[in-house]
């Protein structure tokens, strides 16, 4: 409830939330909202600039860009939400274990994570997806695995900062089990951090999904996907820039909106 009141004071955040809400609604209801089928080709009206009939014009196969944009929202959101949730779940589990058990377990986990984090997400993801074959499931898993280390670090340091408080010592003196201390004493205090983490990772996930699709390792044609649309429209950029600009703008709006919310949650 505190958060809702805080939102009223920042118009930027309110707007960002509105943008997010709009996209979510579109992702759910796009079949009812699109004027044309997103894969419907109309070869007689290729490269048409934005007009009354085609609000955002058509692409090289005469497909209505507006419809494709609306349809594309679903795959972006589903894949990124799924991979973020999976990644945060894995990362939180690892972070909790590392922080709670300390010692060798902690060292081993952290070193491995450091190694994983040292590599650029795009590089590893590209190679792995190239080898495994691009599919939605692979995409979700690969991105989740790349996101988990960042999350694990944050969770670990959050738990560590609480672990030495006296109320934990009091719980230990009661004879509470490790699980109790972790979940009933420590976890409630880091929920706020987890929320912030989730939104930050979500932004990163959308970034990765869009980029990987652009590069060709993500969602495959003819499914409408924003990153893919940008990549497909590149060869015709000079004659039909709207083919690229529309999906690019869509990506930008979604990512910026999430980040504005994430930054606000942080403070």
């Amino acid at each position: 409830m505190r958060h809702v009141r805080a939102l009223r004071h920042s118009p930027g955040v309110a707007m960002a939330l509105l943008v997010l809400l709009v996209w979510v609604v579109i992702a759910v209801f796009w079949p009812q909202l699109v004027p044309y089928g997103p894969t419907e080709q109309e070869l007689t009206s290729r490269y048409e600039p934005p007009s009354a009939q085609h609000w955002l014009g058509t692409d090289n196969l005469g497909r209505d860009i507006f419809s494709r944009i609306l349809a594309g929202s679903r795959s972006v959101l589903i894949v990124s939400v799924a991979s973020t949730t999976l990644g945060v779940a894995i990362g939180t589990a690892i972070g909790l274990c590392a922080a709670f058990y300390r010692g060798k377990v902690d060292e081993l986990l952290m070193r491995s994570l450091d190694l994983l984090m040292a590599f650029p997400i795009i590089v590893i993801a590209s190679v792995v997806l190239a080898m495994l074959g691009p599919s939605r499931l692979n995409l979700v898993v690969v991105i989740a695995v790349m996101l988990a280390p960042y999350n694990a670090r944050v969770v670990r340091s959050a738990v560590l900062s609480w672990r030495d408080r006296d109320f934990v010592a009091a719980a230990r003196m009661r004879g509470e089990s490790g699980a109790f201390i972790l979940f009933r004493e420590l976890l409630p205090n880091i929920v706020g951090t987890l929320n912030v983490e989730y939104t930050l990772r979500l932004a990163l996930s959308i970034f990765a999904v869009a980029t990987l699709s652009f590069l060709g390792f993500g969602i495959q044609p003819p499914t409408p996907d924003w990153g893919l649309m940008v990549s497909e429209g590149r060869p015709f950029y000079q004659i039909a820039p709207w083919v690229v600009v529309a999906p690019a703008a869509a990506i930008a709006s979604l990512i910026v909106a999430i980040n504005v919310v994430a930054q606000k949650l942080r403070s």
Binding site: F167, A170, R172, R174, G175, E176
Partner: protein, 635 residues
Amino acid sequence: MTEAGPVLQVEDLSVDYRTGAGLVAAIRGVSLAIASGEAVGLVGESGSGKTTLGMAIMRYLPANGQITGGCIRYQDTDLVPLTQRELSRIRGNHIAMVYQDPSGALNPSLRAGEQIAEVYRAHLGLNRDEARGRAEGMLELVGLPEPHRAYDRYPHQFSGGQKQRIVISMALAMDPNLLILDEPTTGLDVTVESDIMQLFADLRAKTSAAILFISHDIGLVASVCERVGVLYRGELVETGDTEGVFTHPTNPYTRGLLACRVPPGVSKDSRRLEPLPSGDTDAPVGACLFEPRCAFRKPRCREQHPALYPAGSSQHSRCFFHEEVARAGPPTVTASDGRAAVTGDGAATGDGAAAGDGALLEVRGLRKVFRAQGRDLVAVADAAFTLGPGRILGIVGESGSGKTTLARMIAGLEVPDDGEVILSGVDVTKPANKRSVASRRSLQMVFQHPDGTLNPSHRIRQILRRQMRKLDAGDVARHDETLAELLRAVQLAPEHLDARPRELSGGQQQRVAIARAFCTGPQLVILDEPTSSLDVSVQAAILNLLIDLQRREQASYLLISHDLAVVRYLADEILVMHDGEIVEYGPAADVFESPQDPYTRTLLSAVTARVGQAPLAAPATQPETADEPRMPDPA
């Protein structure tokens, strides 16, 4: 240089802070003056505004603080309207400051000597070699060995006391006319503190600087300053000669503050502490700020705000009824019989339960070694002692003595490398969660910091209930009754059950922690610095509570503290630890009166050195119990 006027003259200064809750007044119309060579003390608890005052004089308030009225005259110049550039010519040069935490005060990436030298380079334009020479001179002046090598060292290579000496040398480098000291020894060990205070005494002989000494420690201020001012919630409530203010207070707050201090050389059996009532409700606007807590209040105090009136022999007091306060004299003594009547039936006085009942706690050969950076650190070496039922054992030592580690091993929070802990005949030398429920029930702990001792996400009821449930403490059906009784015992209201820790004050949180420890009827409670993080006025109330509970429950205490006065007051027996070893162990009176070990003697002399000089409120009557020692004569 003959001074026509004072070096520092603060006139009607007001400082406000802009917070989320609006403007908060931190300093209200404070005036004071300090002459050359004079030392003036400023005494106050947390929230009194004393640190803000020091910062305001240096014109270094945080971004949300502003001076809303008055002026600060250094010699003849008003500092308030000056620009930062103009101020930088005065700071470090004419006015200098010594801070509370020496570790933070020094830049970790610069060599110690350079941080002194840059003062000379900035104000005198000296070159590197000249500045270095002067800096080394200062290092020698403050007693650092091998100044030439010390110059090149980094701050982390010095101890806490040495770092403070470096800070002092930076402050005195340009022989300032005004020196502000903000809690300069808080956080330092007692022996280090006495060394630093000795350094101050030596240096004072060499300089004619005016000194403003800000502290919460009345004894310390009394040993240094000729005049003193007492701050309460941003206002000066009493000013005057130190002797007068501290021996014949004319203000209710000052009197209350003096009364709730733990008197030195006195044990719990002979005198009960007099805490100040807590200030839960605010005074109405336009009233005296201290009115809600004042023992002398009258209706007028709620309607009018008192000014500073001349009072006593040489003081000023912000009270309409200062004559009455002065007449009341120093706080009186409650004899031990009075105490027995207060605490209820069946409670034995003085020596506690029959001492021959067999030991409640037995510690044998306890040892703990930590490994850090490839080296072994012996935290506790071969500790052994016994504690009978209903007795209070005080464990004293400075930082690094091992007392906390010892306590944690007994509590089951650390596993000893060697040795045994026997509780009521049962071997409990294992982590707490491996001990039997009965053992866990009978051994509980109260921790130092009130703000970490309760889980911020839980409500008080949840915290206490869980404690009782987990430890099978009595009939579940009667838990609520027990909870209500518990709260009453620790003087909290039933509404507090539904609160979260952040809604309670530090003192209240500590009371909950005490309730939590006692709700299972433990036989042994470990108290780890239970009042060190609390204000003096709250400390007295908590100590009284601990004594009452101990008598009622016939529990034993293991009291760990660095504060010798508190330990002397509470403990029946004392253990002195130094570098992991027990160097002295015996009845409290013996240890304090005739210490055997040289370290104990050093420790005690460091305390009495400053306590002995403090003109404290002498007891109106000398109680004639056998326990009462004579106070050592001041050196």
